[in-house]
Amino acid sequence: MEVIENILNGFAVALSLKNMLFVFIGVLSGTVIGMLPGLGPISAIAIMIPLSYGMEPASALILMAGVYYGAIFGGSTSSILLNAPGVSGTVATSFDGYPLAKQGKAGKALAIAAISSFGGGTISVFALMLVAPMMASFATQFGPTEYFALMFLGLSAISSLSEGSTIKALISAVIGLMIATVGRDLLTGTARFTFGSVNLLDGIDFLVIALGLFALAEVTNLVLTRNKENNSGSEVGSLRVTKQEAKEISGPIARHSVLGFIIGVLPGAGATIASFLSYITEKRISKNPETFGKGNIKGLAAPEASNNAATSGAFVPLLTLGIPGSGTTAVLLGALLVAGVTPGPLLMQDEPNVFWGVIASMYFGNIFLLILNLPLIPLIAKILYIPKRLLISLVIVFCLIGVYGISFNTFDLYLLLGFGVLGYVMRLLSFPAAPLILAFILGGMMETSFRQALIISKGDYLTFVQSPISAILIGVSILSLVLPMIRKRLSKNKQEV
């Protein structure tokens, strides 16, 4: 069996001393950055990318993946201790986690969160191993038409699912696509929107946008809340979880690992939606829903298992199709491209070491996270109390050096600052930034496959609805945009009646 051999090889790759070290560095820094309220997983990954310069592809991927799920893991700590979620995927964690901490059971809550995250992470990596090969073999029949439709679906899904106005989210996405058109055209070599500047000929580097729109813009959160140091930290207390409690949370962990994984695979959704959905579901099927929000351990276990499972799920489209479904995985894709890995249906065949190596590394990453988050949690939680006034300037320098390290050109630094300002203004005006970064990353690929599809069809636009797969994908995309609007109309009419 070739697959089993490759999986074993993947474990061998992950188990090498060097890669174990990278898993550890990845999950540790992910946990730490994820814990800080204000800096989300996108910033965490973007800030860590410079560290992966010049690394072997497998190691780089292992490191960055570790940062990603580490950030989701770490976000729960600040949700529980401070009621200030470090990442949006752990907002639902605070619903029951913070009440538990207020009752003096912070240690128990952290332990349950860690165990549930570990359960969700591990079960979903197993699912990833099963689903990814199937998806990859299915995707080999995709041509440019189908790829275009798939990316179209990704963008419309993230826009319709993002918080607030769908029109604003779509505007963000279109602007992201527009930024991607800057530079030399990939197919003809024509310069576009360069305004005669040599610096723009190669287009704008994704790291400039990721660090600007997210890390720099999020630093302003830290600036504005700098006087509110996190000193209120309650005692962590005992980490003990009784047998009875362990039994109680095993059901939710199993259920929501599966649910979270499935949601993670879907485009546009992700850890945030998965955790909310799991929380609501768990509350609905519970015999005593009134205890939710008051420190119910099931209400804590469900979103924690779910958000971690969703992060593994998000690797399915990323690794097998080469198409990220969310802002976070879009930045992850950018990181992979920097490392010289092009994910897609052929990755599993061509570079089984990279493919299975990263998946295998996730098992160990989850074990590390469990160790970091259980016995060491009182120690790690101290990071929450680092003075923000010190941290802010360090994060800014990290962003600047990260960008300077790829181009050695100060022009990119000015651009970075510009995108930082844009990111901040977008937050002020409630334009979501995730669709922009996803659209920017997809932009080049989308345009290429769009034009290739038209070249094959000799300019016939109907090609996008003649291929059955593409027709279904485009149909679903349009429904995802139109249905919520219709539903809103209907509910409005009902209210008026």
Binding site: P50, T188, T410, L417, K458
Partner: protein, 152 residues
């Protein structure tokens, strides 16, 4: 007519899409390509135009929560602008004076501006941070950051 924030924003986006379209019509045609480099930009330009009009028509009242995001005092805004200015100076001086000096100055100035007062701790953290970054970039990653006026 321009009473709401969303409408004002929609006008800005409308103008931006006109500007973008203007430049997409100036993209030089390639003699060989059947599906040329201007097709996507033009499509996107019109799409954004339509979306900005939709945003104008929708004219959704902002929620209190959305409005509250902009509730920032003048003092804080000038603080943010000062930080932006510091970053600009940093970029401007980075290659001329060198990474180590400019970084330590920037870190110290920004933290002071934000009101951090423990000089000793600040200097220990910043000097260590800067040196660690500088030497790990140069030695481990093989990327040399500008040394500027310092000899190493």
């Amino acid at each position: 007519m321009l009473n709401s924030m969303n409408r004002k924003v929609s006008i800005v986006i409308f103008l931006f899409s006109m500007f973008y379209l203007l430049f997409s019509y100036q993209i030089e045609p390639s003699p060989f390509a059947k599906i040329d480099a201007d097709i996507m930009p033009k499509g996107l330009g019109y799409l954004l135009l339509v979306l900005s009009v939709l945003l104008f028509i929708e004219n959704k009242e902002e929620t209190e929560q959305e409005k509250a995001k902009r509730n920032i005092s003048k003092k804080e805004i000038s603080l943010l602008l000062l930080i932006v200015l510091f970053v600009l100076l940093y970029i401007l001086l980075l290659e001329a004076i060198g990474f180590i000096i400019v970084t330590i100055l920037f870190l110290t100035a920004t933290s002071r501006l934000l009101g951090y007062t423990n000089w000793i701790r600040m200097l220990i953290v910043f000097v260590t941070f800067t040196l660690v970054i500088y030497f790990s970039f140069n030695e481990l990653l093989g990327l040399s950051l500008p040394s500027g006026i310092l000899p190493f």
